[in-house]
Amino acid sequence: MMLNSIMYSKWAQYMFIGVSAPGKPKLTSCRSPEKETFTCWWEPGEDGGLPTTYALYYHLENSETVYECPDYKTAGNNSCFFNKNDTSLWVNYNITVVATNALGKNISEPVEVDVAYIVQPNTPENVTAVVVDEDQGPFVRVSWEKPRTADTRSGWITLLYQLRVKQQKDKEWEEYNAGMQKYYNVFSLHPDTEFMVQVRCKPDHGFWSEWTQTTYIKMPDYIPRQRSLWIIITIFSVFIVLILTWTLNVKRNSVKLCLLPPVPGPKIKGFDKQLLKSGKTEEVFNSLVIQGFPPTIDYDDLLVEYLEVYDNEEQELVLDGKDLSEDCIKSKSPSDCDSGRGSCDSRTLLLEKCMVGRKGSGSDQHQYSQHGETSWASTESSECQGLEPGSPESSDGRVKTWPVVFSSPQPHHHYQAETVKPVYHSVPEILNHSSPHIMPTNYHHLHHQDIPQQEGRHGKPACRHSQSYNHFNLDGLNTPAPGVSPSRSLEYVEVQRVNPENMLLLRPLSDPNREPEGSDYAGEDYSKVKEVTSNNILLLRRDTSHHCVDDYSQASQCTTQQPPHPCKPVIYQSNSGMPQEGMRVMGNGYVDSTVLMPSY
């Protein structure tokens, strides 16, 4: 009775609490870590308020024998562990779990399991990350070991590894497949940062293991150097430079022309670049100066009237010559002032002067002969040393001087009343003369044979003493100009221009090429001829003093080397083969040059 009541009370107790049979359990998963054993886990259902026991039963395929789980404890709660003896591969396991409690039991759904396909290895072990420093930059070498349980040595299981890396702040992991090897080199990590590394593995047919615990590694600070790229860039640029240099070298002329265009040089006649470079500006500009240009006119001289002074004494002295004396006498008729007296006057004056020029018109600085009168005046008093017209070369070697008078157009009218008329004198043959004395510098010794042109202009009869003069000239000449016929007519010449060598280029007035000069005959310039070159070019000397001063340009030099003495006039011979020239210089080498006289 007592017992029945106890049982009844217990049953009633259960009934009042509200218990039931257990709920249906559920097998969650079965896994094998090394393909030799495996474990199954289940999930219990509602337990129904009563203590429930679970049992796992299985049977193999094509077999009816039911076995119970051999081990409920090893794998923990709600698990069943199958050891090696109980594990068969390539065989289907039919597994069920039964939950049992006081009120009933419940059976789970069966699960078919083939152990070969449920392999999930353990995590790899001993993950180490090391920074390796190399030339190309440091990198991280991650190494690990296989899970202890997996038997890869016998080839029973083959594991594939995988690792992942990220920085602390990154969200995404960077995954790398390492294959079957147990190490991996990670490159291109940011310097001076900390990285997290994890590794996992998988069998060739199976499930991935869990990730290992995080391994931390810190990258050092470094500067990335990409050496191969720099080598390539260097070689490339060297190639480019070499080829460009070669190209420029080949084309250097055109490049030079392109970059440095030729500077146009000065094109001034008479301008010497070398002199300019040497820095002697004076000489450079001096060379530009044309002798006798612009013609400076001593207006004082122009205004000076011509005066003919006749002195009996002088006349006697002078008139030694035969013809000349006659002419001179003739010309000296005071009544005939206008008739060519000017030209002849010059002769007479010359004769009168008896080469008074030896004194030299020291005061005369002008090139032009306007001061001829003054010189006359000054030299009139000088001794006339028996100058024989026939023998211009007197014993003392004086050069006869024929002062020529030029007058400017303006004061020309002044002379109208007088006898002096502007005259162009032909350049006589320059006779070889040696005389210690110099004619007054600016005298041009000329023979004039005929001045037909001037007649009309100047109203002056031509002096027709040419013959006599010719004769006069030729007599007694030591060295007459070879090839020069005595009867050679004299011509008026005109200075065409002054070339850079300081030479007066003369041109005969009878030259048909000559352009009419107009009224420029007024000016008469005197310049002493220094020499005549082979081309019949007269080198004129600019004498500014009695002394032979070497202040000329290049070629002019004193032929005489006695500074206190005046230069010996040198008489040159002109080439006979030049009919055009017809230039002769008489006497001291003075050349009567007709320079274009602008109307000042």
Partner: protein, 243 residues
């Protein structure tokens, strides 16, 4: 001064120089690559004039090739099987799943690592060869039935065909390996050739031919077995770092 800095001839020269330098850089790059020892790829000459100048593959190479082949075969079978399951069977663990015994179940195969390691090399090799032999005809049948049925796309039937060819190739390869081992003295003479009686037709108990799915299911398992056995054999004969 002319504004055109580049006359036609100068332009020509520049372009020529540019081309030359680019070519030089290309040559440099190629040279750099070639200097890298890891990038070298060597090839074995074809053995046309006998074994003297030939690169005879070693046993390890043969094993590697065979194992790779079996891996490829297994992956193919795996793909086909899962394809089948997706399209033709609603659930994996369906109760109504009926499976019959594979026709190769009569072949005694080790079902564990220790069992496999207990087997001698000759027996293991023989098991492999038996398995491969047993599947020659069924695979051909499988391909035939898959090609005829319109449920399968051409891709699957091609896979089945490829699978059959692979099995054939693999068998040949394993035979060569066995031959080599025999030459090297690793194998005794206990390995006997397969007799034609060994070949079995996949006839189930009920007499019906197995369905395609069952064939695929069985083949997947057997290919896995072959792969495993080969690996064990290799690591037992040639213990390298791979094992």
């Amino acid at each position: 001064m002319s504004l055109t800095l580049c006359s036609p001839t100068l332009c020509l020269y520049f372009s020529l120089s540019l081309g030359l330098s680019l070519w030089a850089v290309a040559v440099l790059l190629v040279a750099l690559l070639c200097l890298d020892p890891h990038s070298r790829v060597s090839s074995a000459p074809i053995c046309t004039h006998g074994p003297s100048g030939c690169h005879v593959p070693s046993l390890a190479d043969l094993f590697d090739r065979v194992i790779q082949h079996s891996a490829r075969m297994h992956s193919l079978s795996n793909d086909l099987h899962s394809e089948f399951e997706q399209y033709f069977l609603p659930s994996k663990n369906s109760i109504g799943k009926i499976y019959r015994k594979c026709h190769t179940s009569s072949i005694l195969t080790p079902n564990g690592k220790e069992n496999a390691q207990k087997l001698a090399r000759e027996e293991l090799t023989e098991v492999i060869l038996k398995l491969l032999m047993a599947w020659r005809d069924p695979l051909f049948q499988l391909h035939q039935s898959m090609a005829h049925q319109q449920d399968f796309n051409s891709f699957s039937s091609n896979k089945a065909l490829e699978m059959g060819d692979m099995t054939h190739e693999l068998r040949k390869g394993v035979e060569k390996v066995a031959e080599k081992m025999r030459v090297l003295g690793m194998l005794g003479n206990s390995v006997t050739g397969l007799s034609p009686a060994e070949t079995m037709l996949p006839i189930s108990d009920s007499g019906e031919a197995m369905s395609n799915y069952e064939l695929l299911y069985c083949f997947r398992r057997d290919s896995n077995k072959v792969q495993n056995y080969l690996k064990i054999l290799k690591c037992r004969i040639i213990p390298e770092h791979d094992c």
